[in-house]
Structure formats: structure tokens, C-alpha cells
Amino acid sequence: MLLGRVVGAVVPAVVYDGLEGVPMLLVQPLDRSGQPDGRTLVAADATRMAGPGELVCYEGGREAAMALDPSFVPVDHAIIGIVDDVVREPR
């Protein structure tokens, strides 16, 4: 999993079977120190509770779909959890 910041939402008009009602959020990936890193991506929100500005952790690949119900759906990133706090202890 990686850390990301929710920066927006996508409102689909038509979706593939199984994705009805699944929130699609715009996520800005973050680097190890919490700074924006790379392009934003669209992730299905498996928690269904993430909102704008929130720090989340997301998974990519097959595991993203497995976080959803039904799980045999075409997604490549999913928000797995809303992060309350990251405790970093630099080496």
C-alpha cells in the first residue's frame, strides 16, 4: 500500500456491472515524507467514507478489486483505509 491524499471525486454517468454506487475519488500519491509525488489517479473507495483532503492508504493491482464487494470488478486502485496518523521516525 501507499499513502495518498484525496483531492477530488469523479462522478461517473455509466459504469461497468458491479461498480454501481462505488465512490471514485481522485487521489494524489504521496512520497515517503508526505509530499505529492507523481500524477493523480482515480481510486475506488472501498471504505466508502473517505472525503476531500483526507489522508488515505490505497492498493493497486488485483488487490484493489479484492477490497470491493463484489470483488470481480474492473478497478486498478482502491482506497483501503483512512489514515488517522503516520508516526515517522527518521533513520
Partner: protein, 89 residues
Amino acid sequence: MIVGTVTGHLHSTIAHPFYRAKPLLLVEREDASGVPTGDYLIAVDTVGAGVGQRVLVLDEGNGARQVMASADGPVRSVIVGIVDDVTHS
């Protein structure tokens, strides 16, 4: 598998049910000579690793689910070892 160093942990109250009560650690990847590459990942700890320790991380879904004894957990990265030393020949 990946060698990295644990640099922190994170708390997540609202998460997928699979992750309830599972320790999530921040692991920074290293190259072959032990220098941080700048990449990191968040992994489930299965061996009791702590901050500052070098660890072995499995970053593959099927093996991770086998380790976690879960058929359908959305998990890919698990810490499966604590590294004492890496030697180069």
C-alpha cells in the same frame, strides 16, 4: 522480495475489515548496497518488526494472502523476516 528499513507506523481506524488490528509499518526500500532508494511501502507486520530494523518484505498478493491465512484479503505487502546482515560476494 524486498529489503528495507522500518521507518514508522500508521494508524487507521476506518479501514477494510481485513486490516482490523493488523500492525501496518512504513518500510523504506534499499538498493543492493543498503542506500535508501526513496521508494517506500506500507506493509503488514507478521514477525514483530520495529522501527529501525531491516526487514524482508514480500510484495506479491497470493503469497501475502497465504501468509495471512486469508483467501480474499486485499493485501499484497507483508513483512516476513527481520534481516541481520546482507553480504556481497
